[in-house]
Amino acid sequence: MQSSSHASSAGRSRRASRRSPLADWLDRQAPYVFVLPTVLVILGFSIFPLVASAYLSLTRFAISEGGYELTFVGLRNYVRLFTGSQQFHFTGVFRPPGLISLAVMAAAALVTVWWLARYLRGARRSAMGALGRAIAAAAFLALVWLGASTTGNGGALGSLMVTLFYVVVGVALQFALGLGLAYLCTLPLGGGRFFRLLFFLPLMVTPVGIAYMFRMMADTSVGPLAPLWSLVGLGQIQWAADPWLARTVVVIGDTWQWVPFMFLVLLAALEGVSRDQVEAAQLDGASNWRIFRDVTWPSIAPVAASAVLIRLIEAFKIVDLPNVLTNGGPGIATESMTLHAFIEWRTLNLGGASAVAYMLFFVSTIACVSFFQLVVRRARGHA
């Protein structure tokens, strides 16, 4: 690394001669001293583990005298996840394709082909852009196929699809609710400050606490909503025994916690929208919906896209809610990929755990990079 200072070097050396040589030497090394701790810590506890994890995922782990032994097994841990003994756990249980799933797959394929063709015929195409879009399209199609062939009767979702369910449904809900609440708070009403503070609270509650809170809330016999459930005849329902109900409760807990984040960010963005433009549109007699679509939305889109990206990155890491709220059950129905990796790790199958973790790394990186390249950059106006 080389560095250059902003001040005139002549002035510096003249004054510096008054200082002790040690202080002088230290000052010259400052550019390194400032950055090195951070760089070293990241190299040591982020980059090195990342590489080591890749290697671990290709080995079988065994405790031996005075330590452990790693046996290289190639891609066996990954094969196990996709076609072997862990297939039900990771990719899910497949079922023969029904009419609906075939239709969904065909529709997804058509849309993807149309989207790729439009890009390739457009003026702005480049080799890198095409490659990135091909990867995104392939991942998308693979996941649609996986989702279509593991949901429904006879199928069961694995931790990959469950994680995606949490991410997609959770982030979409949080965005919609956060935007709606932020919009309400920009209306000329009294008490805006009060609502702001109140809506902010769930962000501060520890996720483990939220998990228990929602277990209490969702209890159909002694929970606060019990009279309501028995009134509509659902008093005996065991949501914890139904895969989709259990997943829904997890998503509700996650949404309760993260709506405030979207709310805060989108509120700040909405408050930054030019008052003049909105008032001009109102004087022209435009409807509220038109104003939102043509004036407000374009100006908050960059911030909204960034907020969704931040949430996407964090949402893929979900573990505490499903672990505490449902223990990953019924069976494995609510297990996220991080929880899946933890369970493999607990049985000392470190190779398998690393393989699951690496799959999460691939999926979340592809999703987040695609979202950044395809949505965030476009929203910011330099697609």
Binding site: A30, F45, A52, L198, T206, M217, L264
Partner: protein, 345 residues
């Protein structure tokens, strides 16, 4: 029709028609209920006796049930040290981890905002090559990892000068910043298993130090990301005049610039503190008993004797109350921290 119009159609720009106003308040009130009710329910559950809970829902203290301090006594007196030790652990780990992350992270952020770095591409490439060689030698080649690591480090420094002298292409500050911030995309579960093995082999499992190091690593990207903007907003002239007066870079940073970005430091520290206080995954992998943190204690309540809602509620309350108090007193700063990150993107 005219009535409907009067109620729902806007007459003046900055005033809402009464119908729309009521609808808006109803929606806001509904969400307030959604936010508050679970918290309220937990608060009253902590004052219930087991019999009050199992008899079905009781909503109002003094009306539906007689509040009792039994659960609080159980957690604070009967469990006593078993509660306080994780509490103290959480406090130590969160504050030390936050202090380390904020200290090192903001130094790096300052440097990236002020000093121009031009690491040659070749040096970075050499580093990656050596890392790959290390893994290959230790993994496939069966070389002792310590010897392989020493050899690779030595080779790196030996080759650094000749390689750098020949290379012309450089990376910039933006690349370094992106590299640091992008660490946040990494799911923690990918790195935690090798970290577990590393700490296991040096005997640091289940210690505060292990958690402090991992929390600092996990949060340094957040600090760099947020603080970079705060430092970038400080005018350079102040520092330049101090530099001409002979102040060292350290004196400038700690004596002049840090006080100027104090609000940003508070915002960042609070955010990181809350993240560390609530952290679950690293603690789950790296601690068992001695260094167990509060989220693990809360999560473990499940396993013992079925869900004891009253005790859990107390534990969760004492875990979130400090954060809530902090939030309410310093909410201005916390909101600022969240916004700087997201709005800039």
């Amino acid at each position: 029709m005219t009535l409907l119009k009067r109620w729902f159609v806007r007459t003046r720009i900055d005033e809402m028609p009464p119908g729309a106003r009521i609808a808006a308040y109803a929606l806001l009130g509904l969400w307030s209920l959604v936010v508050l009710f679970p918290l309220y329910w937990m608060a009253i559950t902590s004052f219930k006796l087991p019999v009050d809970v199992s008899a079905g829902p009781a909503y109002l203290p003094f009306v539906d049930f007689r509040p009792s301090l039994d659960a609080w006594r159980y957690i604070f007196v009967d469990l006593g040290p078993d509660t306080f030790r994780p509490y103290l652990n959480s406090l130590i780990v969160a504050t030390c981890g936050t202090a380390a992350a904020v200290f090192f992270g903001s130094m790096a952020a300052y440097a990236l905002a002020r000093i121009e770095y031009r690491p040659p591409v070749a040096a970075v490439g050499l580093g990656v090559l050596m890392l790959a060689a290390l893994v290959a030698a230790a993994g496939w080649g069966g070389v002792d990892p310590r010897i392989a690591a020493a050899a690779c480090v030595a080779l790196f420094f030996l080759l650094l000068r000749p390689v750098v002298r020949r290379s012309r292409r450089h990376l910039g500050n933006d690349d370094i910043l992106f590299w640091i911030v992008s660490q946040r995309i990494l799911p923690p579960v990918v790195t935690v298993i090798p970290i577990y093995l590393t700490f296991r082999s040096v005997g640091l499992l289940d210690t505060h130090l292990a958690l402090v190091i991992t929390y600092a690593t996990a949060n340094v990207p957040v600090v760099v990301w947020l603080m970079f903007d705060f430092f970038d907003g400080v005018p350079k002239e102040i520092e330049e005049s101090a530099q001409i007066d002979g102040a060292t870079r350290f004196a400038i940073l700690f004596g002049i610039v840090f006080p100027l970005v104090a609000p940003g430091l508070v915002a960042t520290s609070l955010l990181v503190l809350i993240l560390s206080w609530n952290e679950y995954l690293f603690a789950l992998f790296l601690t068992t008993a001695n260094a167990q943190t509060l989220p693990l204690l809360v999560a473990a309540q499940n396993a013992t004797r079925g869900p004891q809602w009253w005790n859990m509620s107390v534990l969760i309350l004492i875990m979130i109350l400090p954060v809530m108090l902090l939030t309410l007193t310093l909410q201005r700063f916390i909101v600022k921290g969240i916004l700087v990150g997201a709005v800039k993107g």
